[in-house]
Each structure stands twice: as C-alpha cells, then as structure tokens.
C-alpha cells in the first residue's frame, strides 16, 4: 500500500501577518478625522451689555463702514481689506487705546463682519465695536 503524503498547508499567523497593525492604524486615523470634523473654530466674542454706555475719547475712534455691496469705507474713502488693516496698524501705533467702530449695512454679507473681526484680531485692537447701520 502506497502512502501518499500530503503536504500540510502552513498556517498563517494572523498576529505576524501585519493585518492587525494595519487595522489599528486605520482605526486611529478614523477617530482622529472624526474628532477634527466636529470641532468648531472661529472667533469668540464677548458682547457688551444691552444699552450699556462706554465713555471713549472721540480722538481714539476709528470709524469704518461696510456698505451694502460689501465695500469698506474709511474716513469717506473706499479701501480694501488690506489697506484697512494697514491703516488700523498705523493708528494703533499712534494711539494704543484706539477703538475700532464698524457700522455694517443690513444687506452686507456676514463675511464682512468676520473680516472686520479678523482685522481687529490681527492688529490686536482691544476695543472693537460693531453695529448695524440704521436702514
């Protein structure tokens, strides 16, 4: 009788195959992505009390208006966002206690408000005020 010797298939060691480490790595990436997606970032503003009054030196005021077409007006002249940023920087160097007062047209885009807040943050303006222009 002839005995046929069959070759036993080698067992694959799952732990050594590297599959588990791949799965663990993919899971880590998955959770990091999920965590990042659900975090809000932006600007944290502290609103003034309603009808509160603050006394400010008129000379420290820097008035900026945002028109309905989202153009920016500084001292009666149209300026770009960059020009405004430079003007705020120059003014703040002269007057560290300056107050940036922004009047926004009701039809101006929300992006305009965000841009104004960004300029105030960029130039470290401590006193910043915004309100809606009376229609």
């Amino acid at each position: 009788m002839i005995r046929i010797r069959t070759r036993r298939r080698d067992r694959v060691d799952v732990a050594d195959s590297g599959a588990l480490s791949d799965i663990a790595f993919l899971l880590i990436i998955f959770f990091i992505v999920i965590a990042v997606f659900n975090v809000n970032s932006g600007f944290l503003l502290e609103l003034p009390r309603r009808n509160s009054v603050t006394t400010i030196n008129v000379d420290d005021l820097m008035r900026v208006a945002v028109r309905a077409d989202n153009s920016i007006e500084l001292d009666g002249q149209s300026v770009t966002r960059e020009q405004l940023s430079q003007a705020v920087l120059a003014r703040r160097r002269r007057q560290p206690n300056m107050t940036l007062v922004v009047t926004i047209h009701p039809d101006a885009w929300y992006q305009s408000l965000v841009s104004m807040v960004e300029v105030a943050r960029l130039r470290d303006v401590d006193n910043f005020s915004f309100r809606m222009e009376n229609p």
Partner: protein, 136 residues
C-alpha cells in the same frame, strides 16, 4: 538516538477575527452616533487667526443665506429660538452659543440673533468660520 519532537508553531484562531471585526463595527457605529452632527449646507465665511471655540456643551444656531434659522435640524422663527436659548442657558449657564451662518447671509439676520443674545444677557458668542490658515 535522536528523538524527534513535533514542532508546533503558535497560531491565532482565525475564527475569532470575525467576532473582533463585528465588535469593531458596532463600536465604530456607536462612536459615529455620538459624534453625529446635523450639518446644514452653508458656505462658511473664511478667516485666518481663528481659535477653537468648542465648549463642553454647545448650542448651534445655523443661519442660511435666505435668513432661515435652524436649530437641532428644525427651521424655527426667531422667537422660538430665543426660547430655546433661554432654556439651554437656564439648564447650563456655561453652554457655548455658536453662530454658523453662510458667508453671504445678509448681516441683518445675524444682527437679529446677536440682539437676542444681548437681550438674554448671554454675552459670549462664537462666530464659526473656516480657517484659511493665514499668518500674521
């Protein structure tokens, strides 16, 4: 005389892998549910120098381009949102209010919400924007 000892290589039972995969699937689904957020289709405003404004408890007010205000997936009038904010603040005064408005939303709609927050004496608000990653 050489005694031949049968060699046994250590193995991990492959049958258990399906159990592990199934448990992982359930785990991931649960985590996804915990992180579930009702995202509205808005075009975020863009800015640099942003900060993480996420709080321990958050209350999100979505404002669409046409002025529609959405809270917890429901379009609501401003007075209803005012009541919801009041309830949320009463339940937890440290709740963080987030404004998520489309970049082209007319400012008057955003101003309405800000006025409500001031009226409710809730003075801290987060303007959520998309970070462009600009430097000083």
């Amino acid at each position: 005389m050489r005694i031949r000892r049968p060699r046994r290589s250590p193995t991990v039972s492959v049958n258990a892998m399906s159990d592990i995969a199934f448990l992982l699937l359930i785990f991931i689904m649960l985590i996804s549910l915990l992180n579930y957020r009702e995202e509205e289709p808005i075009d975020y405003p863009e800015a640099a120098l942003t900060e993480i404004t996420q709080g321990d408890r958050n209350f999100e007010i979505w404002i669409l381009r046409d002025g529609t205000m959405i809270v917890h997936g429901n379009a609501l009038p401003l007075n209803a949102i005012e009541g919801m904010i009041a309830d949320a603040v009463a339940a937890d005064p440290s709740v963080r209010i987030h404004l998520l408005a489309d970049r082209s939303t007319p400012y008057r709609h955003v101003a309405d919400v800000i006025e409500v927050l001031q009226f409710l004496q809730h003075r801290v608000v987060s303007l959520v924007v998309s970070d462009t990653g600009g430097a000083r």
